[in-house]
Symmetry: C2
């Protein structure tokens, strides 16, 4: 049977590996919480997942409303009861002040069982973070408690038809109105922009004031509620829903702001900083989505491989001759695909917990900043790759809807795109996070890994030294070439991020196998069959920009 | 604007590269045919593609019938008029006797514009090949002409609920009835098993006779028409349609044979050989599907990248300061993704034409046999990978339905699975095709490449020597390890196939760049940024089966 998330034991093992400590959320109480969420996932959240995919949403143009499937209403109530939504938030607003190490694992559970719905509370969390960091006391008093309790949902309204990545181009306008503002413009791809789940929807909207400087330095952030505090309807409306590859039960809306009333969050023209508070919180969550669906796909494929019988083992001694054929788990290529998933999933989850504990201990440190784009990009890319491998294990059963794997792929594929495409994550890494303070955080992390290698088992020590040396060589290449030619950084950024990720996953395998011998076989698969990718990546990095940039536009 | 297939010029260039010659289908007449098909694709076939995806099919349980979208009826008529369907078939049955080099390029065009529909004529072609090779004169006389003209469609009924890859397990039974047989059993995943396009549907069905030996040596092939020649309805019915990730306008049917009347094709118990005639013809076609949709995805992404403006070039000299931002084609990571597609697509297409001309010249040679699993597996795997890269170029626009890329992925994903999963292709390569006659065909191909290298440009000569040496080293590793331990062959089979493919694509780039200097920039991208994957593959191969096979079933 499927777990509908990773087994709770793997979570608890990781908390122990990284010496998780907390007065309130101690390990016993955390395990109890995990078990509660797991039950909710099995009983309610997962069953609603397929219904949501098939039923989708209904847009009513007459009153510009969006009707969610009945199953979504049910799980919304149930999810509120679990208390998971408020768990990380400050006590002052009704939250539980749980550490990230706990909430990120809960996030994995929720995304595993129902990725489309989890977007709603996820974005609400992003809006809360921005309000907490930059909102006035009055805005906090008026809005935070109901967002924290989940009575209201929040959104992040950034993208416009002509701009996504380059937010300096936005055209949505804000003009002064009484003691606040009126907002006019069109936003697209607004997740949970409109729906009938909550009494109110609180939009956080990027717009430009009349005196705004050009580009991204002229963006301000506004709070625009669907219903104002006096109960009257604000003039923000959903203009339609997108038809998408997946996450069909997540309403992706065109939002029209028709001189809607809004309140400034933070200072004028300083909206980008507040937006990054929303985005950074969300990026770890998006990375986790890739891992979550990869885990579900792996479990599904394993279940299938243990049950399905086709052909005979190539090793005569392994044949079950009382059966008409052997389970496909005996076939090397099937095992290769499963191990590819397992060996990356386990290390990616360890990296999430490692990073979360770094944040719990040291706040928004430069180390956490370095790891954020890696988690967002690598976990979503490898996650989608793994789902496709798991789909392949099922053969034709992976392509039809019965086993859900094709939905996992469709639901996961967006994670490589939203909250900053993976290409943007790689640029964030090589352009901002890596060179910050002359690479201080990077060097400290390399020194930490080097120090820990002493405690690794031999094979893992060797592997870690090897990939760490490659990564440092690549960083040196960047220093030499990219400082004087930023196109060099752009050309190798994705490969550098992936090499960095392989170094971190090797680090995680070194730690895990040193602590728990039962992890060695899967760790060895990682070292022998996945780590060799670092060879290719280093060669690609050293090839630099030449072949990439020389082509004329007309030669493509 | 999209071409709805690769530009005709690229096809003509490849025919010239491989010195294509034909009395009837000379290059001028071929170009005219290509232009005709291209017009059909643009005017009719492509517009029906999205309609088919959205409308899908209607199953009527009362009379167990399947209703195709109206658009499919329209293109069925139009496609017949183009003459493309009969083009490769013998003149005696109304065909055009066109060489494979021509029809495989036409296949690419058709799959590009409408992959779901192309399955219908594609499977009909497979059925025709089997009938031609093994059918009695009477069966040929009764059925071939109408299949060749496209008046009737054919199917391949192999898979059953409990067996797909391992056809030795089939349970469908045949018993003698008058001068022919009655067939009883259930087949699943039968593409175009039932529909309302053609007056009759001719099923080619694997079943077991009462005296059949166990396993795959006891399979016979039968022809089971939906309507018998006297016009009465045969008792073969569609039990339902599969819900699938993609190819929504391709009816994937459960077929129930309820003592349906059937006629033996070939000898009793020798059905597997006839089935391989169907499969081998189809495998090249399936590989082409991967290429076709990868080409469409690339063109779509390029169109988008030339139009979409976001952010500024990292190189100040390339900035278009009269515009609010630069086209995203200036950004290195966007170019990387596009070049990844272009550098593989062009070489994969060359490999198709190279292989087709080998077949046109030497028939079903061992060299053609060696290339068939490579084309089926590598083109579909790299094709899906490329579509995902192209989707990434579009960002959010790649995830919504407007730009079709998400449909290309969904429609292409099945190609890695059907007609023998890619894993099975790899086993076919290392287990059958490679070792045949002590590797004679492989060695001859390596010698051919080595001889041609003399004419390559320096960089391409070096690259070809390098990857060829690696491939030969891998083949030697296989000889040493896999002969005495078949699990070693199974463990490295997929990596070996991919390394072989890289060697062939490098060969193609060597030939193309030696002939046409305008190809050098893209060829260089291939050498510097894709070929390094061969490093990883060789390391993975040399790691062998140990980490893959050692894990206990319970440790997964």
């Amino acid at each position: 049977m499927l777990n509908y998330n990773a087994p709770i034991k793997t979570y608890m093992d990781l908390l122990e590996l990284f010496d998780y400590q907390h007065d309130v959320y101690d390990r016993d109480s955390v395990e109890a919480i995990f078990n509660g969420i797991n039950k909710f996932c099995q009983d309610d959240y997962w069953p609603a997942n397929k219904i949501g995919d098939q039923e989708g949403l209904v847009y009513n143009p007459e009153n510009r409303s969006v009707q969610m499937p009945q199953s979504s209403h049910h799980i919304y109530q149930k999810l509120k009861e679990t208390g998971a939504m408020a768990m990380s938030m400050p006590e002052a607003y009704g939250g539980g002040e749980a550490p990230l190490a706990v909430t990120c694992l809960i996030n994995e559970m929720l995304s595993s069982a129902n990725n489309a719905f989890t977007m709603g509370p996820g974005l609400t969390e992003g809006a809360i973070h921005a309000l907490l960091a930059y909102g006035s006391d009055e805005l906090k008093k008026d809005y935070l408690a109901k967002l924290v309790s989940g009575e209201w949902f929040g959104t992040m309204c950034l993208t416009e038809p002509h701009c996504g990545t380059d937010l300096g181009l936005i055209k949505t306008k804000a003009t002064v109105f009484e003691d606040h503002y009126k907002i006019s413009g069109t936003k697209i791809w607004i997740s949970f922009g409109e729906h009938d789940l909550t009494d109110n929807i609180i939009h956080l909207v990027l717009a430009k004031l009349p005196d705004a400087p050009e580009g991204s330095k002229g963006i301000s952030l506004f709070l625009v509620p669907k219903f104002k505090l006096d109960g009257t309807r604000n003039t923000v409306y959903c203009g339609g829903l997108e038809e998408k590859m997946g996450i069909h039960a997540c309403p992706t809306c065109v939002m029209n702001f028709e001189a809607a009333e809004g309140w400034l969050i933070g200072e004028p023209h300083k909206g980008l900083a507040a937006m990054f508070v929303m985005m950074n919180a969300a990026r770890i969550g998006v990375g986790i989505q890739g891992l979550a669906l990869s885990e579900m796909a792996y479990q599904t494929a394993l279940l299938f491989a243990k049950d399905r019988r086709q052909s005979r083992s190539l090793d005569k001694d392994k044949r079950e001759l009382d059966q008409p054929a052997d389970t496909i788990l005996v076939h090397p290529d099937i095992r290769r695909m499963l191990l590819e998933c397992k060996a990356t999933n386990e290390a990616m989850r360890a990296l999430v917990v490692y990073s979360a504990i770094e944040k719990d201990r040291n706040g928004d440190s430069d180390t956490f900043g370095l790891l954020t784009p890696i988690i967002k990009s690598y976990l979503t890319e490898r996650g989608c790759h793994n789902i496709s491998l798991a789909q392949q294990v099922l053969g034709g059963s992976g392509y039809v809807k019965d086993w859900h794997i094709e939905q996992f792929y469709r639901d996961a594929r967006i994670a490589m795109i939203y909250e900053g495409t993976n290409g943007i994550q790689a640029l964030d890494l090589v352009g901002r996070k890596l060179p910050k303070d002359q690479g201080k955080a990077f060097m400290a992390l390399m020194a930490e890994i080097q120090a820990k290698e002493a405690g690794f088992l031999d094979e893992f020590k060797q592997a870690s030294m090897d990939v760490r040396t490659k990564l440092q060589e690549a960083a040196m290449w960047l220093m030499t070439h990219a400082v004087k030619d930023p196109e060099q950084a752009g050309a190798v950024s994705t490969r550098f991020l992936n090499l960095f990720a392989l170094c971190m996953l090797t680090y995680m395998w070194g730690l895990m196998t040193a602590k728990d011998a039962s992890k060695i076989p899967v760790g060895k698969y990682f070292i022998e069959h996945i780590l060799p990718e670092s060879q290719t990546l280093l060669l690609q990095i050293k090839a630099g920009k030449e072949a990439i940039m020389k082509m004329g536009h007309e030669d493509f």
